[in-house]
Symmetry: C2
Subunit: 234 residues, 2 copies
DNA sequence: CGCGGTTTTGAATTCAATCAATGACAGTGG
DNA sequence: CCACTGTCATTGATTGAATTCAAAACCGCG
């Protein structure tokens, strides 16, 4: 699976994506409350955030989408995480050298706080501590579930699992859901070739597992068999 | 890759494994300091820890190895995380229903703290907050690097990446390093068949990338080509 | 020593990557 | 307005790799 012949350009002009309304609210009020203690910054689509995340810090996505990617020496790209509104953000000191970040949507907004400020705040606001740890755990959970998806036996299962978890994370007030990422992104996230992603999607459609409205409009046909979902069946 | 025809029994009697001596020290003193505020519990090899982790809580591994696994409906197993001494531990509320935990070595010791106690402690000990968050971020980093490994193009690269990260995490005071997990475990962690793991290891040995002393004794031959390591090259 | 589990190897099949090409769509400039 | 261009998406044919089925070699242990 050589994947470096792709254009790496971004389509899809998503903005205002929300993962979990309740959590989103909590985050916003927290962000307001912390005020000057943290820094908030907007990004345009395709804009690189590396500089902003240079120093070890913690943060969260307020709106839009942030991709965390690794570029191999031969130019291949792998997406290790896709963060949407409400998702936590922690930087290991040496992450800066191996990973890079960029916004995948216009109107992406990120908040961050330095270690020092966090420690200072922890004294006055003990609940902030718990909030941060819980957010981190949510991220851990998301990553582990992705590992489950990526470890699936066939490519069709991988794609199905990916679409399923995406559909879960996106606001589902209106069907179909609008996929925020391109096939190239999906391929790089799950570790298969673009063509395989496309074939898998066609296959899922043929089997009636999903329904497409244009390349980006997705409806999961949650039959009983699927309700058990993934995780639950490989 | 059907993987449920394996015996699921554990060999390898590892104990006293340490990941990062400095961090290990920090953890131990923290654990002592917190005293009765947290609970510490030993596990035998192959012992299930599900009950202990039932309620949403945070914790860390003091010694030994803990596997976090998911069993699919058809009996297939997938290992989503392997935690060694010093590794953090956070439970999403609904993790309990989808994942299960068990010790992979005798003498495994785990510490945990409840959300309430954590919040109470955060007020009196602000540094604890930062410590927890940083620990969580380290776990996030580990998982993301695993996703990188698991997303590699060929099975040989997956196995090489896995062995490399394992070798890094294990105490390397003496060579060869003793691999804590079986080929079955490696297969279930990386998402390939056992036979493929075996073939990949043989291939790596033939190419001089690694050296084996018995099935469990591993030395990485870190040639220049390899020094760039993974992440760095797919 | 023989037994259960692990590790390795072999041969046949299935599946995904690759190479190559076409179709769909948006934005651009004549 | 329409051809032009670049990216994204899909499909087909072929090659290469991993899974599967089967069986042998190995190891620790009672």
């Amino acid at each position: 699976m050589e994947m470096n012949r792709r254009p790496h350009a971004i389509s899809g002009e998503q903005n205002g994506l929300r993962a979990d309304p309740a959590r989103q609210q909590e985050l916003l009020s927290l962000t307001r409350e912390l005020g000057t203690e943290l820094s908030v910054r907007p990004f345009r689509r395709s804009e690189c955030c590396d500089g902003y995340f240079a120093s070890g810090a913690f943060g969260w996505v307020l709106a839009g989408i942030v991709r965390k990617t690794h570029i191999f020496e031969n130019g291949q790209r792998r997406i290790v995480d896709v963060m949407m509104a409400g998702d936590f953000f922690g930087l290991d000191p040496d992450d800066a050298s191996t990973f890079s970040f960029d916004a995948a949507a216009d109107g992406t907004v990120v908040a961050k706080i330095t270690s020092q400020k966090l420690e200072a705040l922890a004294a006055s606001r003990p609940s902030l501590c718990l909030f941060m740890v819980e957010s981190a755990c949510r991220t851990i959970s998301r990553l582990e579930r992705h590992i489950l998806v990526q470890g699936c036996t066939t490519s069709t299962k991988k794609v199905r699992g990916y679409l399923q978890s995406m559909a879960r994370r996106l606001p589902r007030d209106r069907t179909p859901v609008k996929l925020p990422l391109s096939r190239y992104d999906i391929a790089d996230h799950v570790g298969i070739a673009v063509e395989t992603v496309s074939r898998a999607i066609t296959e899922l459609q043929r089997r009636g597992v999903i329904e497409l409205e244009g390349p980006r409009g997705l409806s999961m046909r949650c039959s009983y068999e699927l309700a058990k979902g993934l995780p639950g069946e490989p």
